[in-house]
């Protein structure tokens, strides 16, 4: 029997890939959780009062993330309001099952859950898209649509920040892929622990330095409920090769994972490399470096029966088929979504304000970032028509 090198008392149950230390179950929980806490503190990921959406797929990483962040929030009083945010791509036999897991997690962890679906946002489920485009470019549609779906869900929840379960192995794999593809812009971004997407919604990766092996072991020993089936449409062959290569390297030298992340971080873009400037999509308001965002072009292609429109030869396709007819349906404009989100927030606050004292409301308003003094006074009259009035930047 091997004894834990940290407490010198209990039976060791795990060899840590990062350090090769052999440690017991209790010490494993402690170091696993504490290292994530340090990542959060060292990188100043959160501040008190932040509203944080955990991107929840029902898989191992996001399930452990939800569990650990909730635990650390209580243990260290981060003062976070936590939400689960899931995307329903509409994939029978895959996402419907994994969403059941997320719904159980919602109960188990007692966190509010928001689900945004492709069907509702774009009018197309992935099952329908695959019927239209086949199995060749479906992952392009899914990836582009998911990113925007998460941002839109975050806006509906009025959150400032989305955290994702990307772990050290995932990031090392992405570094490798970006090198193999020569994608310098992404290479630099992919190792960043925090990035800012549209509408200043932050995205961060608290598991950036956490090994996949330890996440899976943690889930196993804690008996966390997660879903693990491969997407029925996925086989992303390129990523699959990168992953196998990385796992082979890791089995020979476990520090490979962190070493690759460090290599990715060390790549610097020379000053004269031009990065695209960000604007907004004129059709849906989402961030885009072109006139139209990728999601809008892909959706237009689907709706016009020209699925190739967004893949490769957009300009040539446009020349042949002309501009989008007026009656084609498009993604709801972000301004509309923002109004909807504001109204929801107003309604919540109004409901709450009738149950509390004017002083508490004033404190809440000043603690929050939005209301002006006059708006608070109006709010106190609990007149729902003033919603749009008080919801103004402070």
């Amino acid at each position: 029997m091997k004894i834990c090198v940290l407490c010198n008392k209990n039976k060791a149950i795990l060899k840590r890939p990062k350090t090769s230390q052999q440690i017991c179950k209790e010490c494993f929980y402690y170091v696993f959780e504490t290292e994530i806490h340090h990542t959060i503190v060292d990188n100043k990921l959160f501040k008190p009062g932040d509203r944080i959406a955990i991107a929840a797929s029902g898989g191992k990483d996001s399930t452990v993330l939800a569990y650990v962040i909730k635990l650390l929030n209580n243990r260290y009083n981060y003062g976070l309001n936590l939400f689960l945010l899931s995307v329903d791509e509409g994939i029978t036999g895959y996402r419907d099952d994994s969403l059941e897991t997320v719904k159980r997690n919602q109960q188990q962890y007692d966190l509010p859950l928001e689900i945004v679906s492709y069907r509702q946002l774009y009018g197309w489920s992935m099952d329908e898209i695959v019927k239209e485009v086949g199995l060749k470019n479906n992952c392009t549609f899914c990836g582009v649509f998911r990113r925007q779906a998460l941002d839109r869900g975050a806006m509906l929840l009025n959150v400032d920040h989305i955290i994702t379960g990307h772990n050290a192995d995932d990031i090392a794999e992405t570094v490798l892929m970006n090198i193999l593809r020569g994608d310098i812009a992404r290479l630099q971004r992919c190792t960043e622990i925090v990035t800012t997407g549209d509408e200043r919604i932050k995205r961060s990766k608290p598991f950036k330095y956490t090994y996949e092996k330890e996440i899976v072991m943690y889930a196993y020993f804690k008996k966390l409920d997660y879903f693990s089936t491969e997407c029925v449409y996925s086989p992303n062959a390129y990523r699959g090769y990168a992953r196998t290569f990385l796992k082979d390297l890791e089995s020979i030298r476990p520090s490979t994972i962190i070493d690759i992340i460090h290599s990715g971080e060390a790549f610097q873009i020379k000053q004269d490399v031009k990065l695209p400037t960000q604007g907004t999509c004129k059709r849906c308001g989402y961030m885009s470096s072109n006139e139209l965002c990728k999601a809008c072009i892909l959706l237009e292609g689907l709706n016009r029966g020209l699925p190739k429109l967004g893949i490769g030869k957009t300009n040539r396709m446009r020349k042949i088929h002309g501009d989008m007819p007026d009656n084609t349906s498009t993604i709801q404009h972000l301004d509309t979504l923002k109004n909807e989100a504001n109204n929801n927030k107003c309604k919540d606050l109004l409901k709450w304000s009738t149950k509390t004292t004017p002083t508490a409301v004033t404190q809440e308003m000043h603690g929050g970032r939005y209301a002006s003094r006059s708006a608070i006074n109006v709010l106190l009259q609990t007149d729902s028509e003033i919603c749009s009035m008080w919801y103004q930047p402070y």
Binding site: A12, G59, S228, C231, K247, E250
Partner: protein, 102 residues
């Protein structure tokens, strides 16, 4: 002489085994006489007797494919000698894939 062993498959591994998450099996005490049955023998035994599809997703170069975690009686097999570990009657062995989405 045979050994009773409990096997479990999770993290997506079960898909290679007809969706069976666990199995109680009896294996010979010495698959390769005169040596006692070890993990290496057990892995091949599983491939030959239980695996339903895609052996390449279970075995690679005489061991489990990198990315599959193995626990022997609730302990990381890397602390138990990995392939050289000698199976004992009543052992509880768990295979977990880490290769499926997060």
């Amino acid at each position: 002489m045979s050994l009773k062993v409990k096997l479990s498959f999770s993290g997506g591994m079960e898909l290679l085994f007809n969706n069976n998450k666990s199995a109680e099996v009896k294996i010979p005490a010495s698959i390769n006489p005169p040596n006692p049955t070890n993990m290496q023998d057990l892995i091949f035994w599983i491939r030959d007797n239980l695996l339903k599809e895609r052996p390449g997703l279970f075995i690679s170069e005489n061991t489990v494919r990198p990315g599959i975690l193995v626990l022997i009686n609730e302990t990381d097999w890397e602390l138990e000698g990995e392939l050289d570990y000698e199976i004992k009657d009543g052992d509880d062995i768990v295979f977990i894939s880490t290769l499926h989405g997060g």
